[in-house]
Point group: C2
């Protein structure tokens, strides 16, 4: 492809050696994220920058040439947001992975976008500090990707999502301008919240090159409550009971029997032998308050009809259960291509929505596994389909959109934490309506006059 | 003024009776907020809508006529954001003051913009819930105004600002479209964060007509620590010591001798007899953790050289001290026109910035009183000037801009919580720089094509 050759050669001329990837097999490995169902194109070039000035060169060059720029973290996204556009430049940040600074007094950290989430968390822990956002992908996903998608995680139910921790950003915007947005002070209201606007914009408004996050102090050890339930709806009712009791757990996770079995088959943990649906609750309130919260969670599990429930007395066992929770998604992926939902509904409607998902699975003859950040109403129905069964793929796609529509219908949202990417564009348009979609398009045009930043993602 | 007459008459034709104010004295009372130093014009009309459809009518009419719309809450703003523009329509929300719904299970409240902050807090308390943002103006200011300015308050040091609690909005945007932004679920990342963009935009992107906020559970009783210091800088060092000790107080307020005396003169509390600078620290951690935090705060006060310090054992006395803190601003206002700063600096630089403010006061021969949300680095130097002394007014304005520039110079921001309005437009341009200012202008043009929403506020 002459155009690609030209573009890669042009980029090589404006960048230091070793930044532009030329190996076609390596280029192909950057073509999509983990949303296997989303379409993807062929990148013209892959660039691995080492500093902001190089990102600026790439953006300026692409703006002059009208070439799309697709930023990419670790490629763990589940919506196709980092999928290649034909002829695009993929900007991959694995070489910009420096923790620039941790300031324990101001409780902030400054990082490059390629820093892996768990690496930042470990580095903070050495200072007695804590960076809360903990997507299940934390061992692999990067802060840059987390910021681009406004990633959630297990502790969000109590501690909020990535946006709640981003104080400031450096970004390359427009036709190649490097800007600093936000602040490093505890408070600040100067002008529009451009930092918050960039967070979750999935690369459509610019390329993030540095991130300033706020940190919390290390927290008290968590207490874990384990409950097994016969049905998804019963487990959902336990979740609603916890909410109605006024308890804010530090995690409240649901794993259904399909996911338990998938983890068992992979890691031989015997989880599915204990019951059908597993709920894991946690409290990190200090001292007696934590004891009371854990007891209250246990009572909610019992009153909702848990077949077995107990407070875990063994921290290693509790950690293993949460590790199993984090493995649910990769374990299910081993069974075949997974179409992942991310609907979020009002907390009290978790049992209602779980019941609807079961009915939709039955009506469309699709295997839907469920894993959920149930405490904040964020459900992840996972559709598992034989890749060679075209009819099943079509049924799964119909079921996917039905779940989206029913979640919207009961006051929920299409995406709690994964982002819109490509898979949820129809759902987003449905959810926000034409006027608000028009506001998105107007902002996109205003901030991306060259139309190069991840075009076609989030909305058309 | 024929144009005003016409406009008011036109609005009367499209609105129900009693919405358009015609009395010139009443109209004049809506011409400015509490930023007495900021310029203001003469409104063509004042409208007090009772429902969203009326707001839509006003906006649509103004869009057709090219007339500026200035939304206004209680008029307690301190930056001139709600000041009238010549020939504008003032939209005042005192009649849209309904608490639409409090949902204890989902922990959300839905309110109209004219609801007074303290009224919402009281209504939430009846359900065992808490709406944290607590600007010192909470007895008078409205949620709509709080949202428009992203108001802070005393508990922000631990619990964040207004934006952290706004989940969703209804707004009238563009040329009169009613939109719903955001969500009512715990999480949600669909599209750009337009809710966060509207919060703090000071009426320049549309008119907010309904607000959905998230709530917390009622918290444990607070413990109060009181400390007096000889100098501002010593008190600032106590603040830094608290920060460095890793304690996150639920409030950490500073009141200097000028403010103490002003409160004493008004309310005869004898505060200034006890010492020069008062620090009030609080902890709301439950149980033993709260005891330990309060003790740690006390040790920080002592190590920084407090002339007197103690944990308050009398809740009524503690409440009276915080009431005095909230009265500091109106007490100082009784002495003459006040030019109010709102700089926010990195927490560890609070003593440095307080020292600079004292030097600037001396060098420009200006009386500067200080009250501060010291725990988050948010300082409110208050310049008090004889209204008839033109030379002193000029010196105060020079000192104002110097404080702004020095705060920016040490990594701070022009405005921690009051907003830019008119008073801090130069400082904002200085802080964000021309490219980021251009991003603001591009967004403003994209979302306000008629150019009617509070034009000229925040930036030119």
């Amino acid at each position: 492809m002459a155009v690609s050759e030209d573009l890669a050669a042009e980029l090589e001329r404006v960048l230091p050696d070793g930044r532009v990837v030329r190996d076609p097999d390596v280029i192909a490995s950057y073509a999509h994220d983990e949303a296997e169902w989303a379409p993807y194109g062929k990148p013209a070039a892959v660039v691995r920058p080492r500093e902001t000035a190089e990102v600026r060169e790439v953006v300026a060059h692409c703006a002059r040439r009208g070439v799309p720029v697709v930023p990419r973290g670790a490629g763990t996204g589940l919506s196709g947001g980092a999928n290649a556009i034909d002829g695009c430049v993929m900007l991959s940040f694995e070489a910009m992975n420096e923790i620039v600074r941790i300031d324990p007094d101001e409780r902030i950290a400054v990082v490059q976008p390629g820093v892996v989430n768990d690496d930042l968390r470990r580095a903070c822990a050495e200072h007695g500090l804590w960076y809360p956002p903990d997507p299940a992908s934390a061992p692999w996903s990067t802060i840059g990707g987390n910021v681009a998608t406004n990633a959630g995680g297990l502790c969000c139910v109590k501690y909020g999502v990535t946006r709640d921790y981003v104080l400031g950003l450096e970004a390359v915007v427009g036709r190649g301008d490097v800007v600093r947005l936000g602040r490093r002070t505890a408070k600040g209201v100067v002008g529009y919240d451009l930092t918050g606007l960039m967070v979750g914009s999935e690369g459509t408004l610019g390329v993030i090159t540095e991130i300033t996050v706020r940190l919390r102090g290390a927290r008290a050890a968590e207490r874990t409550v384990v409950g097994y339930f016969d049905t998804l709806v019963a487990a959902g009712e336990a979740v609603s009971a916890v909410t109605a009791a006024g308890v804010v757990p530090s995690a409240l996770e649901l794993i259904d029997r399909h996911c338990l079995r998938a983890v068992d088959e992979w890691r031989h943990m015997g989880l599915a032998d204990e019951g059908n649906v597993l709920l894991l609750g946690r409290s990190d309130a200090p001292g007696q308050a934590g004891e009371e919260e854990a007891d209250a969670i246990l009572r909610c599990f019992e009153s909702a009809g848990a077949t077995w429930s107990a407070r875990s007395t063994d921290p290693e066992e509790a950690e293993a259960l949460f590790a199993a929770r984090r493995l649910a998604y990769p374990a299910v992926e081993r069974l075949g291509p997974v179409l992942t939902e991310d609907v979020c509904v009002p907390r009290m409607l978790v049992p209602e929505m779980l019941g609807r998902i079961e009915r939709i699975a039955a009506e469309h003859d699709i295997l839907i596994a469920n894993v959920a950040h149930a405490g904040d109403g964020n459900l992840h129905p996972l559709m598992i389909v034989d890749p060679d069964d075209d009819a099943a793929r079509e049924r799964a796609q119909v079921a996917f959109e039905r779940i989206v529509d029913e979640a919207i219908g009961i006051g929920g949202t299409v995406t709690g934490e994964h982002g819109v990417g490509l898979l949820k564009r129809r759902g987003m348009a449905e959810e926000v309506g034409p006027v608000v979609l028009g506001m998105h398009q107007a902002i996109k045009q205003a901030l991306d006059p060259a139309g190069i930043f991840n075009p076609g993602k989030v909305f058309a």
